[in-house]
């Protein structure tokens, strides 16, 4: 079993990208931009 303590700490950008909650606002933003493009 690998020892986590020996692994280098992950960069914070990786931690953000692996956070499921991050992709909720990103998805909503993409849909919002598509709606804006459609209505304008």
């Amino acid at each position: 079993m690998p020892d986590d303590r020996s692994q280098p700490p992950k960069s914070w950008i990786n931690l953000v990208l692996r956070d499921l909650q991050f992709w909720v606002p990103v998805g909503v933003l993409v849909v919002g931009l598509m709606v804006l493009r459609w209505i304008s």
């Binding site: 914070w12 950008i13 931690l15 956070d19 909720v24 606002p25 709606v35």
Partner: protein, 434 residues
């Protein structure tokens, strides 16, 4: 200015019930004050003669927002405090910029929505943002978990009442603009509500981690201005046409910048409300901005002067229903058991992003976590540049050609500033703006 930091308590130490009540009270007060200032922000924009493109109006306000969002944190905390906050939780830069992008797209969509279906339909649709915010608060951040039935009913019932009241007010204060494209307008308004409601995820994320709202908004505005500039260039047909429009509007830009500046004060209080009262309480309370906007419109600018009795009854009825909803929410403060769930969510968040648990715990309790406030020459340069820009636009601004009721203007300005003093004073005493 240097403020000595109080020693931080141990990470395992739970926040006591009395402290939670105090923080809740300050959070609720911030929510109500946010409503007053966000409502007042609409006043300067009413002074601007029509004829500007919606995107130019929105972009000009965002420039004012940008100036205020760098000036106020520099004045209150100093940029060194902001930098110290970011060293603790650098991942929040991404979240803040993302939140700013969501805000900019939502704001632009509302302009198109009002154009296509009018304010009476558009406003209630995008006002669903607080209901969506409550759902995200419950699902992602364990808000209302551990709360008793009375508090659930108070928050959900209050939010529904505010939504009903807002709908009645919007219908009463509707402009008479003809519907151009109903389906697109409704889609734009609904999407704006979804974007704003989802924007509260980054807000809560930041404040569960413990970041100061003054630090968060500094980067929020980078996303806001960047996205708004991109939209401005895209929808104006390029940089040169956008520049021409901004140059042509230079005599009224000051009023839009002022609107943006006032809006930032309201937004800062809204952010503190989210931090200390949670999304479920803070956002509905700050949505009382519609009441304040209506007061400015009716009392200062003489809107609805020739309205029929039925319309006035709608205005009074809608206002009373909204006020009752806000009161219900304000009375549904967070219980000790619910706050423990918040603290669990905060611990998970800190663990995920490897944030010092001591920092997170202290900041949730409104303490400084050892940060030192010190203003440097950088802060004074930032404040000096922002002030110079605002003064320059004020110098070339034309006086607005619009009748205002001077007495009511003074009364509302005094009331709004009084709320700032009371809420700002309480925030300083209890949290030192942490």
């Amino acid at each position: 200015m240097t403020t000595a930091a109080a020693p931080a308590p141990r990470a395992s130490e739970a926040i006591d019930a009395r402290r939670i009540r105090t923080l809740q009270g300050v959070g609720m007060l911030c929510g109500l004050t946010a409503g007053a200032w966000l409502g007042a922000a609409e006043a300067p924009t009413k002074l601007v003669t029509l004829g500007l493109s919606p995107v130019v109006i929105s972009l000009s306000m965002v420039i004012g927002v940008f100036l205020a969002r760098w000036t106020l944190p520099a004045l209150i905390q100093g940029t060194s405090y902001v930098a110290a906050d970011l060293r603790q939780a650098p991942h929040l830069i991404v979240w803040a910029i993302l939140a700013g992008c969501l805000w900019a797209v939502a704001n632009t969509l509302t302009i198109f929505a009002v154009r296509d279906v009018g304010l009476s339909i558009a406003f209630p649709l995008w006002n669903t943002n607080s209901l969506l915010g409550i759902i995200w608060g419950i699902v992602f951040f364990r808000e209302l978990r551990g709360a008793d039935t009375r508090r659930w009913l108070g928050v959900i019932g209050g939010a529904v009442l505010m939504f009903v009241g807002a709908t009645v007010l919007a219908i009463a204060s509707a402009s008479q603009s003809a519907s151009r494209d109903a389906l697109r307008g409704v889609a734009a308004a609904l999407m704006a509500g979804v974007l704003w409601g989802t924007m509260y995820i980054p807000y809560r994320k930041a404040y569960l981690t413990g970041m100061s709202p003054l630090s968060f908004v500094t980067f929020f505005t980078v996303g806001e201005l960047g996205m708004m500039a991109a939209l401005g260039v895209t929808y104006s047909g390029g940089v040169a046409p956008l520049w021409d429009q901004l140059s042509g509007a230079r005599h009224v830009l000051f009023w839009l910048l002022a609107g943006g500046f006032v809006w930032v004060v309201g937004d800062l209080f809204q952010q503190y409300a989210v931090k200390y009262a949670g999304i479920t309480r803070g956002i509905p309370l700050s949505n009382t901005n519609q009441l304040w906007g209506l007061m400015w419109g009716i009392l200062v600018f003489g809107e609805l002067r020739s309205a029929r009795g039925a319309v006035l009854a709608q205005v009074i009825g809608g206002s009373v229903v909204m006020a009752i909803g806000a009161g219900l929410i304000a009375l549904s403060s967070v219980s000790r058991s619910e706050h423990l769930r918040w603290e669990e969510a905060a611990a998970r968040e800190g663990d995920r992003y490897r944030v010092d648990p001591e920092y997170t715990r202290a900041r949730i309790a409104g303490e400084s976590a050892g940060a030192v406030r010190r203003r440097s020459w950088i802060d004074w340069v930032v404040v000096g540049i922002a002030t110079a820009i605002i003064v320059a636009f004020a110098a070339i601004a034309r006086a607005p050609q619009i009748d205002v009721a001077a007495g009511w203007t003074v009364a509302l300005v005094v009331a709004t500033i009084a709320m700032l003093v009371v809420a700002g004073g309480a925030l300083w005493r209890v949290t030192r703006f942490n």
